[in-house]
Symmetry: D2
Subunit: 341 residues, 4 copies
């Protein structure tokens, strides 16, 4: 931590800051200029993060050098985390191809889609049973019935299933039926839910919030790992910017940055990021080339009648073409779908 | 709703869209140009919002003209909602002056601050018992003990109290001790919590999310009103932009826009919006002049030792000066603190 | 300047950095921790800013503590800059009320509007002769003919005139006809134009760029002052964010921050910031209460037939009501329109 | 164009709008609902874009369906534009690999870098002679001397050269020495410069502005093509968002969108987009996989002593490894470096 004092801060102010640091168990190193004094602070993460020096008299700015997370960091664990989900794996060379409808709408819709994505090469099945919708007048999902259908569809086609936990009170119920528990973008900083999921024994798929920084995403992940659950997959799904042509702005540099900063697998959701079917394929290709560990793509047997996200859902034949198209790129990146040799 | 067809969409595509609209019970009006056909759709909000036409063949874009909310709209209720909270009121000419510490840290800290803000003219006491913190290593609040202290402090000085519900599972407990239940920016789209709070009989203070549009804020409020709870206060607290000099960017035009779009009271939190003590006073003045119905300001008896938000907390004497300074402006706007005659 | 070394940077890397700093004439102060070494750098602004240490081996981050500007800073000149423009003044208690059409369209349109805004209490007349338009198919302005009309209209009603310099090659021509030269948001970082205008003897009105930080705005202003022209007015006109309800997001906290950081007058353009007529009045009130030194408002005798910015232009009677409405607020802030006693 | 009338707009207001449209030569098609009337407007682009209906009484919103550009559109020209630059080509299967220093600092620095990038496989040499710098105290470039060095270096190694036109008054001089004229991000909406460059016979490289939408970028390009110069290369270089880990946010979905919307070649500048050396390689790979037509990468023989952009500049051996690494991807995308068979 660096403490930058205001111009011409008094000696008493500087002394006071140094004293508070020493009380807290941190070391202070001074750089004294004509105009400015700068104080370098050295100490343990827990001490440094508990220090709130911004309000102290004479302090202009506090620059935190230590990261606000530890367990998720590559410094802490240099080797890739590899997550086993049923018969498939994610991370460490295993590329996840997660596909399925935005929302589970009916047995027919889900099972048809599940069979189609399995045939095309998906390694996991997705489907929303509880849907976060901006307007209370929009379709909110099938709930528990949806969960049961998802389990049955996954079992029939032989794919592990991932679905969103929208309410912390439903977490156990969802964990009963699903293999991977998704935390949606709007809940990325729902810290109580992250705390709860940290005690679970199921992998978590944590989506980046619409306006979350890379550091905030990693700090959110730290909540889960701190609770004891080490199986967490990060997911970039676009951030909110001024550009309205796409639904969000896919931040692939964040994926490359995350791969360097953390040992956790990082996947990409190009469907929500772009909101446009015609951009899914190029963004999938770009994600693979960036070094992502997987993709999550919305597929619907009949996008025209989808109850949500129709414009960004691929038809089964489009998804099938996509997987074929990606195969040589995935190989070039030294990955295999689902970690199969 | 307007449906804009792709350039040179086929007659069959247009016919198909029209047919689907009619099936759903909506009326279709065609504008046929050389290049483009545009379809105006007329029908009830519930029908229109259930229609997902974006995925239909030949459709380029869907423009929603009807708002995704109804109960919160000024069209639905032209007169201001006035909310009674204990002995004070918010809205309809009553100006709320909510003050207190970011987090409740100790009996001494809270009671001293409570006495000071009451003496200075606050109309409500705020204080966080459960704190959302980006890092799991930062102070997380005193929890239930904090809630009880807050109730006791409010009772002693005679001010209603407002505090945040961080976890939907704590909502009832918080409602037992507090007068107004705050939904923080990170939970603005925690729809399950909004649903739950819609069944409560306590006023809700809903903060705008860091990257929420005005329409999304109103849609989130609609969840609460749809559940039956009509006492909701909106709070602008800054949005996330590229500017880093301030913690967030205070969007006062949104306050003016909300005052026109909804009958609900709208207050401003300049502390979180700016993150800088020296900007609190000008932004309070600006908020009053914009037509806001109240302010929520962080006050701490000893900002230097605050466990959160020290740099943006006012000292009691600064808060006292602020209230004195604001009084003529509040009068000029035709408002009275707390609605007292 | 602070140099933060990478974790476990080698002694040789640290020594090398220190050596380069000393060669350049700067002092280095070391804070050595177990993991990190931090180097405080002390020296003159010119030396510090010429140093490019980001690329040096072992360096993780460079934090610049010294501001990239000097002449515009309140540290450099504590008292307000007061700018005389013909018979009116801006800054130091003098409040500028600048009004007129977005673009000059005809003699009739301009003169009628000029007479109306003068009668209503404007202190300066604005009007665009050269218009920056996103599309080459939109109206581009009347050019030199417009400039001449503006001069004539200002002279007739007795108001100084302000207009935009769109092309550096036209700067002298514009300076011949106008009293204040405006640099538009899109040209805020047109450094060659800023350099040129720094040699002029006419006041400059510099608008903040759509995505410019406060620091970048002040650095742009520094270009002009460094050239010798000390008469510069800053103008906040909204920044580009994700919110689309308003045309831009008016950043009033930036106005308050600028008033503290610089001695230059700061005005607000609520017309471009909001793009909506109904928000002009509340944002004008908020600007005055924030401590702005003036307003620039679009007024058109017939907004319905305006060739640009119709939806955000006030009608003369609306402008007249606005000025009346603002008067008590301006007085409350200790300002007078145009600096008249 | 669609005109959405306010709720319960009067018949007179609707009639008035229809009349104005017909006067202007456009057709009006009405959709009349209980609450809202919507007017579809059909007509030629020039007529539609000259219509300013937003200010008309009773009008709530105007939705423009026709694009504000024509010549740059793929509808107008379906086949890719292929641009010949000396001995190399860009577009239509030819992949441009543009490399060189941020700024030209000395003969030794430029020539060494030029030889290195040529050897590594670059197809064009870049180097800044005029540098746009936020602070007037930073290095501003070598000017004309730099231009001459660039020409000489390009000639020696046999590479065409690209450099920025910072000031419209220098455009002819730059055109005398360079093969491709770059318009920087800060000048993307310097319409007078775009007009001027539209009359030149040299290819233009137009960088996207920091906060420019895809539509604004294409509209800016339209200025150049409208002037008669059809040889324009678009360049995505990151947009400004809330994320500060990277210098800007690289928007690769925009590249994919541009490839669909326009026939012009689209290249990517990952150096300015990310500002971090370690992210250059993954973002180059991602750009190729997205379908970009080229890359522009900063290379410096000694980044540690670079006078600008050191942290994002590759060393020659890093650039060489990058080109080798990209080759199979470029082939997979059906492209060849510089268009060589």
């Amino acid at each position: 931590m660096l403490i930058i004092m205001r111009d011409h801060a008094s000696q008493a102010e500087v002394d006071h800051v140094v004293e508070r640091l020493r009380e807290a168990g941190a070391e202070a190193h001074l750089s004294v200029g004509e105009v400015k004094t700068i104080i370098g602070v050295i100490g343990e993460r827990e001490i440094i993060y508990a220090l709130e020096m911004e309000g102290v008299a004479g302090v202009e700015e506090v620059v935190r050098v230590l990261k606000p997370y530890k367990l998720v960091s590559r410094d802490f664990q240099p080797e890739d985390t590899v997550i086993r989900v049923g018969t498939t794996t994610v991370g460490g060379g295993a590329f996840a191809m997660i596909a399925g409808p935005c929302s589970i709408e009916s047995e027919e819709q889900l099972f048809s889609t599940a069979r189609a994505v399995k045939a095309a090469g998906a390694t996991m099945l997705r489907g929303g049973a509880y849907k976060p919708r901006s307007s209370p007048y929009a379709f909110q999902g099938m709930g528990l019935d949806g969960l049961k259908l998802l389990r049955a569809a996954g079992d029939e086609v032989g794919l592990p299933v991932v679905t969103e936990v929208l309410d912390v009170r439903d977490a156990e119920k969802v964990a009963e039926w699903a293999d991977v528990l998704q935390v949606g973008a709007r809940n990325m900083q729902n810290f109580m839910m992250l705390d709860e999921l940290g005690t679970f024994r199921k992998p978590i798929l944590l989506k980046r919030g619409l306006s979350a920084t890379i550091e905030e995403l990693l700090s959110a992940a730290e909540y889960v790992l701190k609770g004891g659950n080490r199986d967490l997959i990060l997911c970039e799904r676009g951030i909110r910017t001024f550009e309205t042509y796409t639904r969000n702005t896919l931040d692939l540099a964040a994926v490359a940055a995350l791969k360097a900063l953390t040992h956790l697998p990082v996947i990409v959701d190009p469907s929500h990021a772009t909101g446009r079917r015609e951009l899914i394929s190029p963004m999938c290709r770009a994600s693979v080339a960036t070094g992502a560990d997987g993709l999550m793509v919305e597929v619907h047997i009949d996008p025209e009648h989808a109850r949500c996200d129709g414009p960004q859902s691929l038809r089964p034949e489009e998804f099938s073409a996509l997987v074929r198209d990606l195969a040589p790129l995935v190989t070039l990146e030294g990955r295999t779908f689902g970690g199969e040799a």
